[in-house]
């Protein structure tokens, strides 16, 4: 019985079914937690790059939001781009004030850069460099700009700066009220 052809197929299908049931259960349990995390993570990251903003409404689904302060008047916009880094896409979130200067830059948590190297992009010193820069000033020292790259992770640094410039070009039209 153990080695008959029929049992060969049946055992495979049986294992797949059990696996499928188990995985779907695990997924349905962990999915809300993961979504929950990323939902409030999104809100946190948006307000982090646009200080003083109380609530956001979506300009473009998933990529651009406009931020209002507690009093309800617009103080700027936030956009998200995902340039391709060393290990895969990097989510970059940029806040712009109404004059088009960067108020803050956040880097998504789910990037797959080389552990311990590209991941340094998330460190504050690198992100804070972007504060106060306008579109033309966003460039690495190496590309005759003012920002210095993460040592030994030029690919990641360049990916972030390119992402920011691309974001400026695509979304700064939202700034004009």
């Amino acid at each position: 019985m153990v080695n008959s052809k029929a049992w060969m197929v049946v055992s495979l299908v049986l294992t797949c079914t059990i696996a499928a049931v188990a995985l779907s259960q695990v997924f349905s349990i962990t999915k809300p937690i993961i979504d929950g995390q990323s939902a409030d993570a999104l809100k946190a990251s948006l307000s982090e790059v646009l200080p003083g903003a109380a609530e956001f409404n979506e300009l473009e689904p998933g990529t651009a939001w406009s931020g209002k302060d507690a009093a309800g008047n617009r103080i700027g916009i936030v956009f998200k781009t995902s340039p391709r880094g060393y290990g895969g896409p990097i989510t970059v979130v940029v806040g712009l004030d109404t004059t088009g200067r960067i108020t803050g830059l956040g880097i998504g948590a789910d990037m797959k850069e080389t552990p311990g190297l590209g991941l340094k992009a998330r460190e504050a010193w690198f992100r804070d460099q972007f504060r106060g820069k306008s579109e033309s000033e966003v460039a690495l020292k190496r590309d005759n700009g003012t920002l210095d790259a993460i040592s030994a992770a030029t690919i990641t640094s360049r990916a972030v700066t390119n992402g920011v410039r691309k974001g400026f070009a695509q979304y700064s039209h939202h700034l004009k009220p």
Binding site: K5, M8, V9, V10, S11, L12, V13, T15, C16, T17, A19, A20, V21, L23, S24, Q25, F27, S28
Partner: protein, 338 residues
């Protein structure tokens, strides 16, 4: 319990499992390789060293050839007689007797007696060294001594000696021939295990040319050819070539050779002893090539033990059958059984 998710994932993964299961099931039937069960049985008997001594690409190759009947049953020298017999049983035929062979080093030019002519710092392998002007050794014919044979021996029978010559452990050696094929200088020879006296030199030079490069090299002085009682040696290319069928392993050439270029694989040799039946006819005195017998005519003669090498020539000519070979039993020579 999100039933739709469970059902879709079961359908997805389960369905895929079904498809793959069916494909593999059909494939295992259609693509089944028809393996002759005799081939599997023969393969199981073979030692599996894949050494190629049988002339086939490894044991699988030989098993396939035997099963298809296109190979003799006793080609596996590594397995020897019992493997041949079990293959015979499997194939239902009588396997011929297998003459066990063993690898022997036919060069005694170690570092102590055969100096190098330049320092070789390249890859420590004979085949590489031999490419460079024939190797670092003054004698270009001799064993380079960098251990290629030791490396290729699948049975670990060869280790490198102190003087840079390989030492072959005859108990482990199965005669597979890997070392013979690997050696760039051809200083290893496959000889039947029963063969005891072998020339240990491969130099085609003569006289002084050999003396300059190696103290134990054969200088082609032709003495061994003259003294050999069975005329088993013939000088070809400055080397005495031995006819194994004629040679009676008496050992005379070993002791007569001025440069000790022969080796004797017998651990010990018997000695001649004259018993009282001796009539003192002195036939043996003339026959002994080493003047090892003395005594007055018509009196009981005596053998000088230190001079006698146990070649057995005296025993052959003694009319009164008064001489026996004593000691080192089990190494009696053909025609000189003690």
């Amino acid at each position: 319990m999100d039933w739709t998710l469970i059902l879709t994932s079961v359908a997805g993964l389960g369905g895929l499992g079904l498809i793959i299961g069916i494909v593999l099931a059909i494939a295992s039937v259609k693509l089944a390789v028809k393996v002759d069960e005799r081939e599997a049985a023969v393969r199981a008997v073979l030692p599996g060293a894949n050494c190629g001594a049988c002339g086939f690409p490894g044991c699988d190759g030989y098993a396939a050839a035997v099963a298809s009947g296109s190979a003799a049953l006793n080609k596996c020298s590594v397995g020897g007689a019992n493997v041949a017999r079990s293959i015979g049983d499997i194939m239902g035929q009588e396997a011929g007797a297998v003459e066990p062979v063993v690898a022997v080093l036919v060069c005694r030019g170690g570092k102590d007696v055969a100096p190098a002519r330049f320092q070789y710092k390249g890859a420590s392998d004979c085949r590489h060294a031999a490419l460079l002007l024939g190797g670092p050794k003054a004698c270009v014919y001799g064993c380079v001594g960098l251990g290629h044979c030791a490396k290729v021996c699948p049975f670990g029978a060869i280790t490198m000696g102190r003087n840079g010559l390989p030492v072959i452990d005859e108990r482990k050696c199965t005669g597979c021939g890997n070392c013979i094929r690997g050696c760039p200088k051809g200083t290893l020879l496959l000889v039947p295990r029963s063969k005891l006296v072998i020339l240990a030199c491969v130099s085609h030079d003569k006289g002084r040319a050999v003396k300059d490069v190696c103290r134990v090299g054969c200088t082609a002085c032709n003495l061994c050819v003259k003294v050999c009682p069975a005329q088993a040696l013939a000088m070809v290319g400055n080397l005495p070539v031995m006819d194994f069928t004629k040679c009676i392993d008496c050992g005379i050439c070993i002791h007569k050779c001025p440069t000790k270029s022969f080796i004797d694989r017998a651990p010990g040799r018997p000695k001649a002893v004259i018993n009282p039946r001796c009539t003192g006819c002195q036939a043996c005195v003339k026959a002994c090539p080493f003047k090892a017998i003395e005594g007055e005519p018509n009196k009981q003669h005596k053998v000088l033990a230190d001079k006698c090498i146990g070649c057995g020539e005296c025993r052959k000519v003694c009319p009164a059958d008064a001489i026996d070979m004593v000691g080192a039993l089990g190494h009696a020579r053909k025609g000189t059984e003690g």
